[in-house]
Point group: C2
Chain length 82, copies 2
């Protein structure tokens, strides 16, 4: 069993309204030293696979088919043993 940790982040050129809203709220709370906030997804998958490469392949397929929108988002997969 492997654990895949997937970081899905909005591409730099794409406006991040959730991040902007959080940024303004933090400023209102007095945290004025924060210059930017960007919010992405952190997805954890438990995968049954024979080896690390196979687990990476399954995670990549999951990202391409469902978890990430490659038009707007980048993803990064890290596999560890569980």
């Amino acid at each position: 069993m492997y654990k895949a940790t997937v970081n899905v982040t909005l591409r730099k050129s794409i406006l991040d309204p959730k991040g902007k809203a959080a940024h303004h709220a933090l400023e209102d709370l007095g945290l004025t030293d924060i210059n930017s906030v960007r919010i992405g997804k952190l997805i954890e998958l438990d995968i049954d696979a024979d080896d690390k490469d196979k687990a990476h392949e399954v995670a990549e397929t999951a990202c391409e088919k469902l978890l990430a929108n490659e038009v707007m988002e980048d993803f990064e997969i890290t596999i560890s043993e569980n």
Copy 2:
């Protein structure tokens, strides 16, 4: 300028409906080797601070006051130079 990467994850004991929905959708797409999916947040902050410790403190305050709901979520902060 420092960059704080914050991983916000739902506590193990809390049901994750978004993760469950993604899990079912992945099964329907034929990815049956995935046993569980949990979806959290990945938040990136750019922080103006004199040193790493100060940046960590700002990020921690931001999490406690706004970014994480500590009743249901855990957070983990990593600081790097920008």
